[in-house]
């Protein structure tokens, strides 16, 4: 396929998804469910940027989401600023955490995954600590009724999704994205191709962190009452990871398919007894790793068909 057509196809898919989620709000009454869809569509693409393009799988991805949620809440609670300023704080909080955790990129594979999970847990232990109640409200959770604006926050979430999808489209079709994949495949060869390995990984890591932070911020805004256990719930990482792996990393459509199919099933059968869904996706992960380690899209890519 010609390169320009590839970009048009990618951009078309991105636009269609954003338009769909925008239209659905007027059609379907369960706004919270739609909002959750937008969150996971965005998070799984954010994870795609770091895992799909650099091979680092942060099990503690939720740490950035939580940092964003609390970045938003702390400035809104204490400084009484407008919600959009809170969103800036959410992004900034995740970026700061991303910079603090940059040394983790020296670790490889499993070490990185587990260290990032420990880091997310550590941030949770700090935020939820009763000693810090005057600042974070500790384990008792925050309430942000002053800025509650479900419609605005929904569209802000949609804008973040749009931005994230565009970013992934760009990565898939740009020299920078290709360099990142080169680093993922072999960092030494990449260095000998003139690619700055550290710079590439750092940029991907911070972009990925920023996205999760913004999603966390808009979550806090939309939901307006939440506990640290919700903001740092490991299932946020797990769901995003499973959706990404199920569909297929490094593609645009893979994570989208993963969210629409699996989160769709979750909303049909999972809500009442989440454990049935937990069991199902646990089994799915096992089967995927054993039989389809590159996700659903690899059914096509293995036959030499390019998937958007």
């Amino acid at each position: 396929m010609h390169k320009r057509n590839r970009i048009i196809l990618d951009a078309g898919i991105a636009t269609a998804v954003v338009a769909l989620m925008g239209i659905m709000r007027g059609v379907y009454s369960n706004e919270l469910m739609l909002f959750n869809f937008i969150m996971f569509l965005t998070l799984s693409q954010g994870l795609n940027i770091i895992y799909g393009f650099t091979g680092y799988l942060p099990f503690g991805y939720v740490g950035f989401y939580g940092a964003g949620a609390y970045g938003f809440s702390l400035v809104v609670m204490h400084l009484h600023v407008p919600a959009m300023v809170g969103m800036v704080a959410a992004g900034a909080a995740a970026l700061v955490l991303g910079v603090i955790l940059l040394p983790l990129l020296r670790l490889s594979g499993a070490y990185f995954a587990i260290a990032s999970m420990a880091a997310a847990q550590a941030v949770y232990e700090i935020v939820a600590n009763p000693d810090l109640e005057s600042i974070t409200k500790g384990p008792y959770g925050v309430s942000l009724s002053d800025v509650f604006a479900p419609a605005t926050s929904y569209y802000v979430a949609l804008a973040i999704l749009a931005g994230t999808l565009l970013l992934v489209v760009w990565l898939r079709n740009s020299r920078f994205g290709m360099s990142l994949q080169a680093i993922r495949d072999d960092s030494v060869s990449a260095a000998m191709a003139g690619v700055s390995v550290v710079r590439g990984r750092t940029i991907a890591w911070l972009l990925s962190a920023l996205i999760a932070g913004l999603v966390g911020g808009v979550f806090a805004w939309h939901i307006s009452v939440f506990y640290p256990d919700t903001a740092f719930d490991l299932s946020v990482s797990i769901f995003s990871t499973v959706f990404l792996l199920f569909g297929g990393a490094t593609t645009l459509s893979g994570p989208l398919l993963g969210v629409f199919i699996l989160y769709g099933i979750y909303n049909i059968i999972g809500i009442a007894v989440p454990q049935y869904f937990q069991f199902t996706y646990g089994a799915l992960i096992v089967l995927l790793v054993l039989f389809l380690p590159n996700g659903l899209v690899s059914l096509l890519t293995n036959r030499g068909i390019r998937v958007p």
């Binding site: 983790l104 499993a110 070490y111 587990i114 260290a115 999970m117 847990q121 996706y281």
Partner: protein, 291 residues
């Protein structure tokens, strides 16, 4: 107070050695991370609770049953997933994801079957009253849990260094490829190591209610971070290093709880990150892996 913290730390450290040992054995032999280790530990605890509440079995008796059953369960699990996993391009990373899936399945089934409530066992089952060590009064339940852990660690040592299969296991740890080339049945050796690893998790689970206070179906993740912290501190892939890692972990935990108790939960996380960044090869390790 300091002596007390250190004595209790060593006692807990022996237990944490047991928690990490199985995970490290599997990593050493197969270079995979069993992220369901904490969930097998939880199942061990559930078994002890079930055997006591239904049949009145004392944990000292149920531990034997748990060892046999977990060992036998480990073999088919190994043959079902591990050989296939080891053939993939990045088995270390994929193992993490795969066992995470298994961990989710175990947690889900346990919650569906038994509910999410906490379960505990009366400490008197392991002995009544305190015992005094170096002027520190410790519950007998702690002492006996630590003693059982020490025995399990000793048995693993004897297995690895005094039996033929153990010698073969150590050969596989040094180089899986060369062991294969010399005609060792690497799969059987690994399957037994995997079974032993689950049995160790099971034993740690049986004593978990006495050391950790209670058992819940979702405790696996926290246990995994702890176990990983222990074995990373004590050198990955080196089962004996686990003892050092366990004691260091136990003593630091007790010092934290004595002097900075509300922040004690931070410890395993920070310790893990710090060791990975500063000395990824562990305290006993030689610098072999590219960090």
């Amino acid at each position: 107070m300091l002596t007390g913290a250190i004595v209790a730390g060593v006692v807990f450290g022996l237990y944490y050695t047991l928690v990490g040992l199985g995970l490290n054995l599997v990593f050493g032999v197969m270079r995979i991370v069993n992220l369901a280790h904490g969930d097998f530990l939880m199942l061990g605890g559930i078994s002890a609770w079930f055997l006591f509440t239904s049949f009145g079995l004392n944990p000292f008796v149920s531990v034997g049953l748990v060892v046999v059953v977990f060992l036998l369960v480990g073999l088919p699990i190994y043959y079902l997933v591990v050989p296939r996993l080891l053939r993939s391009r990045d088995s270390e990373m994929l193992s993490l994801i795969l066992f995470f899936g298994i961990s989710q399945m175990i947690e889900a089934v346990t919650t569906i079957g038994l509910g999410a409530t906490e379960r505990s066992l009366p400490p008197r089952l392991l002995g009544v009253g305190p015992m005094v060590i170096l002027g520190t009064r410790l519950p007998k339940a702690w002492i006996f849990s630590a003693a059982a852990s020490a025995i399990a660690v000793l048995l693993v040592y004897l297995y690895l260094y005094r039996t033929r299969l153990g010698t073969l296991t150590r050969a596989v740890m040094v180089s899986r490829d060369e062991a294969l080339a010399t005609g060792i049945d690497v799969n059987f050796v690994s399957a037994v190591a995997f079974g032993i690893s689950l049995a160790l998790a099971g034993v740690a689970g049986v004593f978990a209610p006495f050391i950790l206070g209670s058992i819940t179906p979702n405790m696996g993740v926290a246990i995994n971070i702890t176990a990983f912290a222990v074995i990373v501190v004590g050198t990955l892939g080196n089962p004996l290093g686990t003892l050092l890692g366990g004691i260091i972990y136990g003593v630091s935990l007790m010092l934290m709880q004595t002097y900075l108790s509300s922040w004690a939960n931070l410890l395993p996380n920070l310790l893990l990150i710090a060791v990975l960044l500063i000395r990824p090869e562990g305290i006993l390790g030689r610098k072999t892996r590219r960090a």
